[in-house]
Amino acid sequence: MNLFVSLRKDFERFCCRPEFVTNSRRLGVFGRSGSGKSTLVHFLAGLLRTGRGTIELDGEVLTCSERGIWLPPEKRRIAVVFQQACLFPHLDAGKNLLYGYRRTPAELRRVDPKELIEVLELGSLLDRDVETLSGGERQRVALGRAVLASPRLLLMDEPLSALDEGLKYQIIPYLREVFERFTIPFVFVSHSMNEMRLMTDEVVVMHRGAVSDQTTPDELARKRMRRTRVGYINLLTLGGGRENDGLWTYPWGGQKLLLSAGGPEEGLYELSSKDILLFKQHPEAISARNLLVCRVGSRFELGDRVGVELTSGSEKLIAQVVRPAADELGIVEGAKVFAAIKASAFRRLY
């Protein structure tokens, strides 16, 4: 997918002027609320007509104010999943699901409804009135409805924000599965760093209406480490765990990780860079249940903080220390360090 955007729209107190080019099939748009993310989505979908600029998708001009071009939303084949599922209340879940499919010419349909219903596990919901669905179910139907329209590009505007924390991460595997199976390029809009890292390959950062950065999600997370209270969030996918004395043991990078909040199935866990303690030598006995032997992969400086990339086998972790600590520990590339992590520092996301 190739997307070119250069727009300008003046509001009363704020000017939205996103400009970027991307080839990424999994693009993220990151920014706080009020940074112009939703305006961008409306522009891309053709729901906003006023304003100046150009939008090109795979060489086709969708909007160009100079040449007076504006393709109406139904001709763009760009579907949107909104923050609220926006299901049609007078249709049941099944009819909602097929709304876009029925309006897509047969030769353009690329997704088989049966297969999609299976992937999203919607089979039992089809006859239900949409008012009776739970938040997560509604969002799954909305996602399925958009995918079944076989769009050239799928826009997701904070699709998980209306869901509560636990549910949010339950939807992500569905999202990933759908996009892997049906290879639809998408733009994922969110203010959540974790969602960016789980869903996208490239991130456009919006700040006060303009693009302030365009980078990879991991790079962005590292840059933001200093500014956020939680530090850098390490995301670990762990599976094949065994329970022993109330703790779960997982294989990780040739070593073992012990977690208190584990489970038998594969899951995603987060660990803050602030919860990793570093030692130069092997401590004799510590209360933390994890003591990993790691190499320093790289070190990066952010003001008075130092980010330390630890490697073990093929796995990586980011820890953060203040500069004097880094000097005392002798943090240089290739150095050996011991990382201590409490078993309770890991938080299960799904």
Partner: protein, 228 residues
Amino acid sequence: MDFSPSDFQAILLSAKVASVATLVSLPFGYAAAYLLVCTRLRGKAVLDGLINLPLVLPPVVVGYLLLLSLGERGWLGSLLAAWPGVRIVFTWWAAVIASAVVGFPLLVRSIRIGLEGIDEKLIQASRTLGARWYDTLFSVILPLSGRSVLAGATLMFARSLGEFGATIIVAGNIPGVTQTIPLAIYDYTNTPGGDRMALLLCLVSIVISFTVLLLNEALVQRFRRSRS
């Protein structure tokens, strides 16, 4: 019951006039409300004012203006006179037109409130899923405004049943031809000893109105049930 034949005719005519006026107005009322709510039309305020004018004008004024334009020398009347045998003034069609004009603002208002209550995001979702504007109108907007259409139609029907001022001027008060219930009651109250009949017709009026209200409520309930 000792209704005279002309009383029965008045009752039937009232029902007929109110029904026809409401049914004929429905598509126009819906179109007007749609234009006012869902489009970016210029001069919306003027259109809105024109539609609502009969609501604030005395019905007698509306009737008189209708008489002037529909009469033989009026601009509409002279156009219609081109067809032989077409005459509107002092026929039951005049009563229909008078009821339609006076009840129209009520119909548009109700539908408008319904349309304004539809979440714009639903309309946007339907468009991005490949529906053209008329497709969205029939597959999303119309089904979601069903209740407001029903409410508007009920209101308009009730208003038409009671129409007096405009009707008496443009349709006259001809027993058996253009005399509706309110006009018949008016006649009885001007006749010595007509109080009893006037009261009876009032009762009929109440029964019809109440039946319409009950019918409306039943339909609304059905709407709700079919959606849940």
